[in-house]
Amino acid sequence: MARATRGIRRVLFVAALSLSAFAVAIVVLADDARLGCVTDAQRDPAYQARLLGQIEIERTEYEIAVTRDGQPVSGAKVCASVAMVGMEAMGVSDTAEETAPGIYKVAVVLEMSGGWRGSILITETGKPPVSVPLKFDVG
């Protein structure tokens, strides 16, 4: 029997399959993390953020210790955004992942020695984003 309207059965099946794959993917990919950390956020002196370990050119990732009122902040969305002093347009930023309570790891390469400036953006669930300024030198 020749395939007529039945002839698009496979197309419909594949279309349905890809639609569901798309939906699943969107859910997996969706994340409220703000890339680039470019939002204006208030400063809140209760929050502190500190880069752990040596800051040097060869390092590809850094750990940030985030605290509020001295206590580690866990489960927040954290991202770091830094640039060389005077070259703000060529800054780097990325989202950090929590590896230990209050410790967030971010993949960032600081390519040149000199003075760097930036901020750590911290968003705890249910709270507005908070920005903690950062300033350091790369040896």
Binding site: A2, A4, T5, G7
Partner: protein
């Protein structure tokens, strides 16, 4: 200025028939008295000039009666395909009107296409679909629902004896079968008229015969058919009426018998001589019964009332006049004669 009154045809006297359609088989030559309301295809002063100035069709007045097989006969380049193109919305006329089944083709092409079925000279079957699907989708394009399209497709496959090939890819069909499928496809939406452009071109003799059987049978059921051809024998045998076209104009319209009776008189003679052709032509034309004398391509051509004894007569006459003929041929009363007489030249194959 184009006159919409029909072209001149010299016919002895009009029948009492007038334009009313009668059984095609007994139609004899009658005066062309203009289109009747029941005519399926009517063109008025139809004209096509291509960019660059080439006039393909000029002042065409045509009418095709319901239920007849109408032939457009003429050599390549006569304008037949262009005419069909204008009737089937593929070519836009420069001026004039074309009406099919009461619908102005220029003004309402989409509606006109409902009434038109087309079988082109080239194979225009859908290569991505198989035989059955070509018919099925044609039905769907024309508004048939799924079920109606399926049954129409099955029915036509049966009828045209293609049922055993229903799942074949169209590339695998022979020329004759492909043409048959195209005819089936063109008929599927029951158009008022089907147009066939050189339907037997490229077919072997058996397929040609088979195709004509189909067309005659369709006509028997009341289908109107308009076709173009340059094959005189086929046109002569099967067409109810013919229009002879050349250089974009219709030269004559009548039944094959009518055309032969009025314009092809008796035998066509071609005599060749090495010298003094014009003298020979003048000499022969003085004889009674010699008509349509011309000198073409080193031949003297003319007509005689009958083919019987013609050769002896010409030889004797030429000898008596002191002419030496190098070649002589006499052809019977055929459409070819009609064509040659009308145009003054051979049918260019």
């Amino acid at each position: 200025m184009c006159s919409s009154s029909p072209f001149e045809v010299s016919v002895p006297e009009p029948d009492g028939d007038g334009p009313a359609p009668t059984s095609p088989a007994i139609r004899t030559g009658g005066a062309e008295s203009g289109p009747a309301p029941s005519d399926v295809v009517v063109t008025t002063c139809l004209r096509k000039v291509y960019p660059g100035g080439r006039v393909a069709v000029e002042e065409l007045n045509l009418s095709v009666r319901r239920g007849e097989i109408f032939g457009l006969l003429g050599p390549n380049g006569a304008g037949k395909s262009t005419t069909v193109g204008m009737l089937t919305t593929r070519v836009i006329p420069t001026s004039g009107t074309a009406v099919v089944n009461g619908i102005d083709v220029r003004a309402y092409p989409a509606r006109a296409k409902q009434a038109i079925g087309v079988v082109s000279q080239a194979n225009t079957l859908d290569q991505g679909l198989n035989v059955w699907e070509n018919l099925y989708f044609h039905g769907r394009y024309f508004g048939l629902g799924d079920r109606a399209a399926r049954s129409a497709a099955d029915e036509l496959l049966e009828r045209f004896r293609l049922a055993d090939r229903k799942a074949s890819e169209v590339e695998d069909l022979s020329g004759g079968m492909a043409r048959r499928l195209m005819v089936a496809r063109a008929l599927l939406h029951r158009p008022a008229v089907i147009f066939l452009d050189e339907p037997t071109a490229g077919l072997d003799p058996q397929s040609r015969i088979a195709l004509w059987e189909v067309l005659v049978e369709l006509q028997g059921e009341g289908q109107t058919v308009l076709l173009t051809t340059h094959r005189m024998e086929e046109a002569d045998e099967h067409c109810d009426r013919l229009a002879i076209m050349d250089h974009g104009r219709i030269l004559a319209v009548d039944t094959p018998q009518g055309l032969k009776a009025s314009l092809g008189s008796g035998a066509a003679v071609t005599a060749r001589a090495e010298e003094r052709l014009d003298e020979l032509a003048a000499y022969l034309s003085r004889a009674a019964g010699v008509t349509e004398v011309r000198v073409i391509d080193g031949d003297v051509r003319f007509n005689l009332p009958a083919a019987h004894g013609a050769m002896q007569w010409v030889l004797a006459a030429a000898q008596a006049g002191g002419f030496r003929l190098t070649d002589l041929s006499v052809s019977d009363d055929t459409l070819e004669t009609v064509f040659v007489n009308l145009t003054g030249q051979d049918l260019r194959e």
